[in-house]
Amino acid sequence: MTPEKIIFLIVAGATLVSALMVVTTRNIVHAAFWLIAALFGVAAIFAILNAGFIAVVQVVVYIGAIAILFIFAVMLTRKDLRDTSAQQNRNWQAGALIAALTFGGLAALFQSWEKLSVAAPAIPSSFDAVAELGSQLTSPSAYVLPFEVASVLLLAAMIGAVYIAFTRK
């Protein structure tokens, strides 16, 4: 057990517990705050994976913007502050079964895959992930099309959301 593994297990455990709280807690605002905790745990996992840029982006985009959007949406769609009615639908046992089967299937797939124990290559000391991302996102031979399409996607989402949210009855 190296310190790195212990840190990973603590972070992963906390993240999974928060994720479970997201899907089981009755109070929807609390579910949103538990989601923030889970997303923060995932950001820590990215940091452990040496993907610093993705980790910071995770906090900036998810916690800084998406979580706030969720909380605003909860505020706009509540009749009273603390809704205590049932939060699970009638077929929750079936849902749990499907979820368990999915996890079992994925786990079985991993067991039979031989590349699972591959070692992580060392990252060269001069390697700058952000600069590398920058050149890949603008290079015509790499990802410049996804780069521009992403902005069109965001434009479509913005116009669509503004239009939908504002249509009068």
Partner: protein, 102 residues
Amino acid sequence: MIPLSWYLFFSAALFTIGLFGVLTRRNVIAILLGIELMLNAVNVNLVAFWRYGDVAAMTGQVFAIIVFAVAAAEVSAGLALVISVYRRSNTVVAEDLDLLKF
């Protein structure tokens, strides 16, 4: 060094929990919360494959960033729909939204 399998099992568990939320929640916003968990599980996988594959290729990280953009678009349009539905029918419970059934 942490083996790759740990990340894969972690992301599979996260994905499954999200799937459970999507399948069982009544509130539409809570269903969207579950979808966020699933998207994050995908991102963990993408970044883990970047780290354990060819580091200089950056494919995993580029895909992860695209997933951020997709998640942002999905959330903004999805929540706008929820708000719009709430203003029409005054509910956010998925089972009660049965206008199309009849």
